[in-house]
């Protein structure tokens, strides 16, 4: 194998690689632009929002006017303000849920893949059983059991993601556990935690990174869906999915209430998925 091939396979440091990858792909750049736009909106939300998001400031269900750029909702709240302030919850909750899931899932996958045996069997069967359950239903069940709240939305999304992540990490670990460097670590008597966290975990970074991005998109999507089903963050605080939910029944009266948060949500998910796409892309042969 030549040095060049090694280079193009590129196990170079992760962060610069990330930016290089993004920079090279138009899709990635565009996705980053969208996501950054929303992040900026979230950061400067209080400055941007013309009104307090929960205040009943105008007449109900109005289309855009000079006063209310994106119209008002059924309670006469400013849609723009709610949209802007709702950015925060999506942009905070989705990453928390995903990171939580990645942490737990990676831990389970590492242990189960490396230790093998009965433990692995049990964990994987449990995983299978959980994966058997449609994700959305799992969310719904968890939230129905715990009640709708931001924390529970995070918990539900995290819990439903854990099996998939565990499986990915386990796959990586199983592929690596008989590799020379792991055997070598065993032969020099490394502790379990060292092998798991230092030798194995970094090797799962790449699949985890792509998975995290995809999951981030899906989590954002799911938060919206849960909101739409009325199981998201409880009112009155703005929540995109919830805004769509309450807007749907006014659809034929004023489509703005629905269209604005729906498009916002879709654009954010598209942005995240474009970034994920950039990472999935194979380098052209």
């Amino acid at each position: 194998m030549s040095a060049i091939e090694h280079r193009s396979k590129g196990a170079v440091p992760l962060l610069p690689a990330i930016f290089r990858r993004l920079g090279r792909s138009k899709a990635g750049l565009f996705g980053s632009a969208i996501v950054l736009f929303w992040i900026a909106i979230a950061v400067f939300a209080p400055l941007i929002a013309p009104y307090p998001p929960n205040d009943l400031v105008g007449p109900a269900t109005q289309g855009p006017t000079a006063q209310f750029w994106l119209g008002t909702d059924d309670l006469g709240r400013d849609v723009l303000s709610r949209l802007v302030c709702g950015t925060r919850s999506v942009l905070v909750l989705a990453p928390i849920a995903v990171l939580l899931a990645e942490a737990v899932g990676a831990a389970i996958g590492l242990a189960s893949g490396y230790l093998g045996g009965v433990f692995d069997q049990v964990v994987m069967r449990l995983n299978d059983a959980l994966i058997a359950f449609p994700t959305i239903l799992l969310y719904l069940l968890i939230i129905a059991a715990l009640g709708p709240s931001r924390v529970n939305v995070v918990l539900a999304i995290a819990a439903a993601s854990v099996p998939g992540i565990a499986r990915i990490v386990r796959g990586v670990v199983v592929g690596l556990r008989s590799r020379g460097f792991i055997l070598s670590a065993q032969m020099r008597g490394e502790r379990l935690w060292y092998v798991l966290l230092v030798e194995l975990l970094p090797n799962a970074r790449r699949p985890l990174l792509v998975d995290t991005l995809l999951r981030l998109g899906y989590a954002t999507f799911s938060i919206g869906t849960l909101g739409f089903l009325g199981l998201g963050a409880p009112p009155p605080d703005p929540d995109w999915g919830g805004m769509v939910n309450s807007g749907v029944r006014w659809l034929s009266v004023s489509a703005w209430m629905t269209a604005v948060p729906a498009l916002a949500l879709a654009s954010l998910v598209i942005g995240i998925n474009l970034i994920a796409e950039a990472f999935e892309e194979r380098a052209p042969r």
């Binding site: 059924d74 709708p148 009112p235 029944r249 009266v253």
Partner: protein, 498 residues
């Protein structure tokens, strides 16, 4: 009663009416324990009531020939109509024994019928006496002026005495239809009976329709609208505000809007802190801007309520007291008196359907912030909410229309009543309620009403910000259907003008 004449047109026979019910088709077990409009419609098609309340809120005897009371309203004589026939395997005529059987069932506390809540304040099972095959006498323990109304309560369908408790197995009654199928949360289908006792305008037996199909559309406003506009439904009962607004522009639909006593309560359990303190409850009433609540949640399909369950223009005995004004200062002062000067924070639960409750709750929560009370809104799927609806501390349940406010009061404000979700127990109020129940004459009743209303506005366990219009939309080809405040789907006299 004879069938009504519907203008010049002669009713057409045949056809299936498909109507959308916005009230969940909950599981149906026993007509006497029905607790929702959806299943009650299925029962109502098959089984009938001793009385009937018309669209003007006036009661008439239905399965009864006559219903007469003694002067003191304590002895009532029910003459059972000859003619109605049960669709039991071997059809059988209705008689006094069936009526007695039904009264005994309703009054059996073990059954848990809401009829018990209505009747038991003035009637014990021992007071039901069969005089002859077609006469039953009721000996009340307290005078009652609401009996005729109470008998039209949706849990009061009359079943034959062979009935054993499962209506899906024994869908028996004297009604115009037979139950073909009942699929909870989905639909039910009724088909016309051949031997119904009433005759139509064409001289033949009612009903005109071959079939009735009811579809559960929950509160999916979009599905309601789309279903009606795309001609999937001929009729929708209890559509919500948004759908009404969307449909109002439809030239091809006949919309109706009937004032009802259907309402949403912001009610608190008086056995829980801090709501055990009447000053706190009053503060929570005073903080309401009831116009804003009504406007935003129901627009012109709602009208303002006065915290007393009595709907103006609906209950004939309504006492026109002044509508309470929003008074934030006084509310604050009351809270301070109650030791809650800093305000407080509490969960506020409500079912997510019908939609207007969520709106009302949010507006109310916004208003409450003015007195430092923070409501943590907990929207709940209706199934979850209603599974434990009497347990919640502070919540916003919907209450269906009943022609007389006192009926609702009897159900929800008497200690020990099955639906007393607030645990309210006030002797003053109770004696007033007993008193009014002994009065027939409207003006006399109004005087007591004034006291009751004042008492509830001062001490009651809830705020009652609004009443809703019963909304219906029907295709012009639906004839002979009169929407009522009850939102009942009764189709004995309905036909389709194809």
């Amino acid at each position: 009663r004879p069938a009504r004449a519907w203008g010049a047109a002669m009713p057409k026979r045949g056809g299936t009416i498909r109507y959308a019910n916005t009230d969940t088709l909950k599981p149906l077990v026993d007509p006497a324990t029905v607790d929702a409009l959806g299943p009650s419609d299925a029962v109502r098609g098959c089984a009938e009531f001793l009385t009937e309340v018309d669209e003007h809120n006036l009661p008439h005897p239905h399965l009864l020939e006559t219903l007469t009371s003694s002067e003191d309203l304590k002895t009532w004589t029910l003459v059972v109509r000859k003619g109605p026939v049960f669709n039991t395997p071997t059809p059988r005529a209705l008689d006094a024994d069936d009526v007695v059987f039904n009264f005994k069932r309703w009054l059996d506390p073990k059954l848990g019928s809401s009829m018990n809540g209505l009747l038991s304040p003035y009637l014990d099972a021992s007071g039901v006496e069969k005089i002859d095959d077609h006469t039953v006498r009721l000996h009340l323990k307290a005078p009652s002026s609401t009996l005729a109304y109470d008998l039209y309560h949706y849990a009061g369908a009359v079943v034959p005495r062979e009935f054993e408790g499962d209506f899906l197995k024994q869908p028996w009654g004297t009604g115009p239809f037979e139950l073909v199928e009942y699929v909870p949360n989905q639909s039910f289908t009724l088909k016309a009976r051949k031997d119904y006792w009433r005759d139509g305008a064409d001289g033949q037996k009612l009903p005109y329709l071959d079939q009735v199909v009811c579809i559960d559309v929950r509160s999916q406003a979009s599905a309601q609208v789309a279903g009606l506009t795309s001609g999937q439904f001929d009729l929708a009962l209890g559509i919500d505000y948004a759908a009404y607004k969307a449909l109002a522009a439809e030239p091809d639909l006949v919309m109706s809007r009937i004032k009802s006593a259907g309402t949403v309560l912001f009610r608190a359990r008086v056995d829980q802190k801090p709501f055990d303190d009447p000053r706190v409850r009053l503060a929570l009433r005073l903080v309401q801007d009831r116009n804003q609540i009504t406007q935003l949640s129901l627009g012109d399909t709602g009208f303002v309520g006065n915290d007393d369950l009595v709907a103006p223009d609906v209950d004939p005995a309504y006492a026109p007291l002044d509508t309470p004004k929003r008074d934030v200062e006084r509310a604050k002062a009351l809270l301070a008196e109650a030791g809650l000067g800093q305000g407080f924070r509490t969960e506020f639960r409500y079912p997510t359907s019908p939609d207007f409750i969520a709106t009302a709750a949010q507006v109310y929560a916004q208003q409450c912030r003015d007195i430092g009370v923070q409501l943590d809104l907990v929207p709940m799927p209706p199934d979850s909410y209603w599974a434990k609806w009497t347990d919640w501390t502070f919540a916003a349940p919907q209450w269906s229309h009943r022609p007389l406010a006192t009926m609702t009061m009897g159900l929800c404000l008497r200690p020990g009543a099955a639906w007393n979700e607030t645990r309210y127990a006030d002797p003053t109020f109770e004696s007033l309620l007993d008193e009014v129940n002994g009065i027939v004459e409207v003006e006399a009743r109004r005087k007591v009403y004034a006291k009751i209303q004042a008492r509830l506005r001062e001490d009651g366990p809830f705020a009652d910000p609004l009443f809703m219009y019963a909304l219906a939309a029907q295709s012009p080809k639906v004839k002979g259907f009169v929407p009522t405040a009850f939102r009942y789907g009764t189709f004995s006299d309905t036909w389709l003008d194809a």
